[in-house]
Amino acid sequence: MAGDGKYDVIVVGSGPGGYVACLRAAELGLRAACVEKSDRVGGACLNVGCIPSKALLESSRFFYLARKRFQEHGIVLDDQVLDLPVMMARKSEVVRGLVDNVRKLLENAGVALIRGTARLAGERRVEVTRDGEKTVLEADAVVLATGGEPVPVPSLPFDGRRIVSSTEVLDFDRVPEHLAVVGGGTIGLELGSVWSRLGARVTVIEMMPGIAAVADGQVSRTLERLLSRQGLEFRLRTKVTGAEVTDEQVVLTLDTQGKEDSIACDRVLVAVGRKPFTGGLGLEALGIGTDPRTGHVLVDERYRTGVAWIYAVGDLVPGPMLAHKASAEGIAAVECIAGLPGEVNYDTIPSVIYTSPEVAGVGLTEEQARERGLSFVAGSCPFTGSARARCMGDTDGFVKVIAHGRTGRLLGVHIIGPEASELIGECAGALERNATAEEFARVVRAHPTLSEAVRDAALIVQSSRKHE
């Protein structure tokens, strides 16, 4: 155990919220400790979330390309055999490497990594339990960054085998014949894509009338069409009312606006969302308030809970459940602890869905702008107009720019198309700088690149504004 158990900051959790908070604390000269109950640092993101899913998405995309797209490039492979164990091993290696990196980063920064489960134990004390052994640490401030956990569906209890969460779906030992995905959000669509590309029949069941509810409406409708074309099946406005699990399969009873139906599948992924994970922290004992509806920990503008020395960030507090949002909050919270003006600009947090094509957005969607009663102008540019996209053979999708009608200030950018995840970076930057559509359009982009489509969409907005 490091030192004498007295720290400036103790961070509970080593996910993207926690470990980044620790690194920032160390940078600011604070004595920091990170408590992690798992053997591996990195949290859900690194171990069972963003990273392994991205590794599998990449691998499965190669497989898909080899089977469906290589021929148009004149590359003919005699047969394409999937070696799933190798693919899984590669994924694990990617994860292991990154977990190792985080551990080294913490070590090099002088952050004490303490293994065990933390519980808040009264005035500036954290009790850490490992293998039944308890240690009490002291700190001036504690940052809770314990993340979230999958929300279960009552009619579909997780059994880890047939009915699984986003964790087990990353470790199937063979390609399912028919994978039912309950929930058409980011996780469901990404992991549904993985197994669809690897040969599974995939049916996505969604209660809402559209998939990817957080995305711009036009984007989500386009995504549904493009994924359908790739073979994913969608059952929208549909609820799962029951499940009958046998050795062989699962039969799901569905209700589509009053019409009963059932589908048989061999695996079910339940991905209807995640909720804050606060179990065992001992919040109630200290009187730390949570939102009774969502379970979120209530914090003020400095991420401070009702108890002055306890802070909370990431999935524990309201907002999109994104790794980079957690990191930004972790940094801000630690800065506030250090007496600096730390904060997060929630208007410019990009979100990405790593399907093919990718979906990425930042700022207000058209629906949000409308709902807020803003006068706005929206313009879009399809990737068919992009020379680079044509060379790549990936012309599906478009860039949509939304700006304020009067001032031209950018309100949001939404992209569905190749490398959308990378294109959204410059858009977030422009939003952060309060750029207008014209300023954004005037930035010179290299030719030929996909970012030219971003410029063109901004130009269209600019010219539409002139017609007003």
Binding site: P318, P320, P341, V344, G373, G379, T384, H404, R409
Partner: protein, 444 residues
């Protein structure tokens, strides 16, 4: 009543498109602005939205290739659900429409503009349950103080009831629409104006706004914007030139004087000068048809009728009601038509059809006392005749200086289609007809 839902034009070279998907089903009640279906061409994918509220009747199923302009559905406007549909964007679409149309046309080959939309003002826009005390970070507090705003004025849009920088900026963006009203708000940071005002701003950050009385910013009314756009287009898209002449009005004045009472008695309308100018213009336009023609692309469209617009200054802006078939109407009919239009304008009853279809325009700046002016074309027309005030001036007639009631007249014309000779001849014909009104009668 029902309206047709057509496959929109997506570009000049595109003849047909694939109707990929219907988002609404046959018989659904749809709202204006709602996405109905999606079409795909080799170049673009386009979402098509409803133009009105009503019941959708689908005529062409999805998966079919349809020609541009095909009617794929109708919307029955009368069909109503038990409870009235909440409108998507109350008054918004009205102003947005013109822009939307323009945008559609530009869609052409590459980029597709989507609807530029004007949404209603932010007043009742409350979406999130407005928490009593929004969470406001330091930088946002500073921004609020800088602009003299109170956090309670703005609905927080960030997670967990946070007021974000973007919320404040959007509020400021929007406020332009309804400015002028609250000078106090803006002058909070101006100690000279309001010495008692609470100093919310640290001195180093003082932002001084121009005193509200010196400039007032108001949004242009839709009609003013239309006029502005129309005027600018006329300037930008024509080769406009003006030629002048002067007219001795004495004969016309004599005739008017002579028949004033009789005319009034018989027709219940007074005999003005405008009917003479309308008739004179009809004679001249028949002789010089280019002034009655439009340019469309690389073609000239000649009109075998003479519909003349008469510019009338109305309270809300200039309007140009059109008098149809001027050549076929008598003096009394013309005078009545003018009186009728003026009354309609006053009662705000003018219809679109009253303003459409003009082939030439007459504008009388004389009623305001203008001595001479260069009228601006009412595009796509190719000519506009400007009348001015009648003034007694010394002129030389038969080698002697005499006093005559004189009027300068101006003809602005589009030099792309009308040559100088034609323009000058036209104005000379007007002059001849007015100086000798009998020429109108015998059409020489």
């Amino acid at each position: 009543m029902q309206i047709e839902v057509k496959v929109p034009e997506v570009g000049e070279s595109v003849q047909e498109a694939l109707l990929v998907q219907w988002y609404r089903r046959d018989g659904d009640m749809v709202r204006k602005g709602e996405i109905l279906f999606i079409i795909e061409t080799d170049k673009v994918t386009l979402e098509v939205s409803a133009d009105a509220d009503g019941m959708l009747k689908i005529l062409v199923p999805e998966g079919q290739t349809v020609r541009i302009g095909t009617v794929v559905a109708t919307i029955d406007l009368e069909a109503r659900e038990a409870k009235p549909l909440p409108t998507l964007q109350p008054e918004a679409e009205k102003t947005g429409e013109a822009v939307e149309k323009a945008a559609e046309r530009e869609a052409a080959a590459g980029p597709v503009p989507i609807s530029p939309v004007h949404a209603p003002s932010p007043s009742g826009a409350g979406t999130a349950e407005a928490s009593p005390r929004p969470i406001v970070s330091e930088s946002v507090k500073e921004l609020l103080a800088e602009r003299g705003l109170d956090a309670a004025q703005i609905i927080p849009g960030g997670p967990g009831g946070r007021l974000t920088r973007g919320d404040v900026l959007a509020f400021l963006d929007e406020r332009g629409h309804e400015t002028t009203g609250k000078p106090a708000e803006r002058t909070v940071t101006e100690p000279a104006v309001m010495p008692e005002a609470p100093r919310r701003v640290p001195p180093r950050r003082q932002v001084v706004f121009a005193p509200e009385e010196l400039t007032v910013r108001k949004p242009m009314t839709p009609i003013r914007r239309r006029i502005a756009d129309h005027m600018l287009q006329a300037r930008l898209n024509t080769a406009m030139l003006t030629t002048f002449n002067e007219i001795d009005m004495s004969r016309l004045q004599e005739i008017r004087k002579q028949f004033r009472d009789l005319f009034q008695k018989k027709h219940s309308v007074s005999l003005g000068i405008m009917s003479f100018f309308l008739k004179a213009a009809a004679v001249a336009l028949k002789e010089l048809p280019e002034l009655n023609a439009f340019i469309e692309g690389h073609e000239i469209v000649y009109h075998n009728y003479i519909h003349i617009g008469v510019a009338v200054g109305a309270e809300r802006g200039l309007v140009v009601p059109v008098i149809r078939d001027v050549d076929k109407l008598g003096f009394a009919d013309l005078e009545k038509a003018i009186v009728d239009h003026v009354r309609k304008i006053g009662e705000n009853r003018l219809e679109m059809s009253d303003l459409e279809g003009g082939t030439f325009t007459i504008s009388n700046g004389g009623v305001y006392g203008s001595l001479m002016s260069t009228p601006i074309l009412n595009s796509p027309q190719s000519g506009i005749l400007g009348l001015h005030k009648i003034e007694e001036r010394p002129v030389v007639v038969g080698g002697r200086i005499v006093i005559r009631p004189m009027m300068y007249v101006a003809l602005s014309y589009d030099h792309r289609i009308v040559d100088g000779r034609e323009a000058v001849t036209f104005l000379k014909r007007i002059k001849e007809c007015i100086e000798n009104p009998e020429r109108i009668m015998v059409e020489i």
